[in-house]
Amino acid sequence: MNKTLAGLNNLVDWFLPPEIAADREVRKQARMFLYSHLFGPVIGNSVPLAFYFLSPKPGVDIAILAASISAFWIYPFVLRATGRYNLLTVLSVENLIFSILWSCYFHGGVMSPTLPWTLTIPLLAFFYIGPSARMRAIILSQLAINLAIFYYLYQTTSPPSGGMSAGATQALGLVSTIAASLYVTMMALFYANALASQVELEGEMRQHQITASALRQATEDAKRASAAKSEFVAKMSHELRTPLNAVIGYSEMLLEDAIDEQDDTVASDLKRIHEAGHHLLKLVNEVLDLSKIDAGKMEVFNEFADCAPLLQKAAQTYRQAARQAKNELRVEAEAGVGVIYTDVMKLNQTIGELLDNAIKHTREGTITLAASRTRRPQGDEIAISVRDTGAGIAKERFESLFEQFSAAGDVSSTKYGGANLGLSLSRKLCHLLQGDITVESEIGQGSCFTIRMPASAGAGPAEDDAENEEVAAALAAAEARSRDLLAILAVAGNGPGARSSNVSTEKAAVNA
C-alpha cells in the first residue's frame, strides 16, 4: 500500500508547482486535491453513463453532467500552470456543487438518486483547504448560497420529470450510491495515510527531544567531570611545585658551591639534577596551564609592548641554550613592526616554547626569530616566526604536532618532546590571544613556526574547547531538528493543534 502510494505521490507531484511542493503542509492538501481530481471523474462519470443507459430518452442534460464531471481533469493542469491553489479549490467546489445539483434538478430533486453526492461536498472541500478559517467560511457560504439558489429555482421553475421507471431509478440509485461510497473511501484512505505519516512525525520529534535532553544531561555531566578534573590537576600541580622548588633551589645552591670548589664531577651531577628539576617544573606548569585553559579559567591581561625589545628579551633567555647546541640565534624585527597590545607574558611563553623547540631539534644551525606587521582594514596583524635549519617535520605530522599526547607511540615522539605539551599549550595560548600558530617545514631543510595575532587584541578571553564545541554543535543540530518538526506540527490542521501546544511546553522545559 505504502509503495503504491509513494508511486502515486510521484505521479501527482508532477502537477505541483514548486512553491507548493516546497511547503510540506500545503503539499499534503494539494495532493489530496490532485488525487480527487485525477481519479474522481473516473468514478463520477459512472453516473451520467448509467443515466444514458437507463433513461428512456437521454437528453442534453446528461451530456452537460458528463462534461462538468470531466472538467475536473483540467484542474491539475491549471494548478501546475498557475499555482493558484485557493482559487482552484473554490472553483472546484463550485463545479462539484453544480454537477450534483444539476443532476438532482433533472432527476427528481430531493428524491434524486444522485443526492448522496452532496455529502462529498464539505468532506472534499475540507480535505483540500486545511486549517484556514477564512477558506472554510468561504466554502460553507458557497454551499449555502448554491443550495438557496437551487431551492429557489426548484420552487419557481417546473423541473422536468425524468420519466424513468421505478426499476431504472432504483438501479441508478444503486450505481450512484456505490460510486459515491467508492469515491469517499478512496479519499478517506489517502487522508488516513497522510494522518499516519503525521503521527510518525510526532513520534520522531518526541524521540529527538528525548535525545536532545539526554545529550544535554551528558554535556552537563561531562562539564562537571571536566571541572573536577581541572581542579584536581590544579591542586596537584601546586602541591608538586613546592617540593620541586626545594629540589631546584638546593641543587642550584650546591651547584654554586661545587663550581666555587671546582669539583667538576659533583657539579656535573648536580647540574643534571637541577636541569631535571627544571624540566619537571616546566611540565607541571604546562599541565596546570592546559587545565586552566580547558576549564576556561585562564585570564588574559593585555598590555602594550614594543615588539623589537620583546623579541630581543625572549631571545636573550635562550641564547645560552642555543650556544650549547652550537646554534646561532638571530633576531630580525622588521622596521616599523611597532607596538603590540596583547597578553605579553603569554606571548613570551609561546615564543619561548617555539625557541626551545627549535633549539632542541637543531644542531650547528641557525635559528631566526623574526617579526613583521601586516596592515589590514580590520586591524593590523603581527606575525612572529621561529625558523630553524634543523631536521624538519613530515607534512602528515603538522596537525598532530599541536595535539596533546598525540605523539605517543611515534618513533620520533621522544625526539619531539614526548607528550607534546609545549606546542599544544602554545597553540591554545595563541587562541586565547585571538591568534594561531602554523607550521611550515621540509625534511632536511628545517621548520618555521609562525604565530599570527591581532596587533591590538580585543577584550575578553576566547574559550577554546573543541570537545564542548562538538557537543554544543550536536545539541544545536538536535534542537534545530526538533524545531523543524514542531513547525511542521504547528501548521498541521485539526487534531494535532492541542498536542503541538503540549509539545511546546515540553520544549520550553527542556530549554530552561
Partner: protein
Amino acid sequence: MRKILLVEDNENNRDMLTRRLTRQGFEVCSAVDGPAGVAMASSESPDLILMDIALGEMDGWEATLLIKAAPETASIPVIALTAHALSSDRAKSVEIGCADFDTKPVDLPRLLGKIKACLEAWNRPPV
C-alpha cells in the same frame, strides 16, 4: 650591609633563600606568615622585603597592603614572589604598590638583579 626581610611560609624555601642571599652578602631575617612579616617590617626596618604571595590566612597581597599603609614601613620596596607567573598577578603587584615581581623557583641572578635595582632606586638621594 643591606638587610632583607623574607616572608615565606615554606621552610625549605625560606632556608634556601636565606642561605643563598646571606652568601651574596645580605643580612637576611625571615617571617613565616603575613602577620609576622608585617610586624617585622616595622621592628627590623629592612632595606627590602621579599614577599611570598601564597601565604596562609593573610596572603602576601594583604600583608603588602598593610606594610604600605603604615607610614614607617611604606617606603620599603617590596618584591612579590608568586609560584607560577600569571599576568594578572603582575598587574596586581604593581597596583598594590610592589616595587617588582618575580616567580618561584627563583632564578637567583635574575632576582639579585631586581633586588639591586630596587635598592638603588630607593637609595637615590632626594632631589
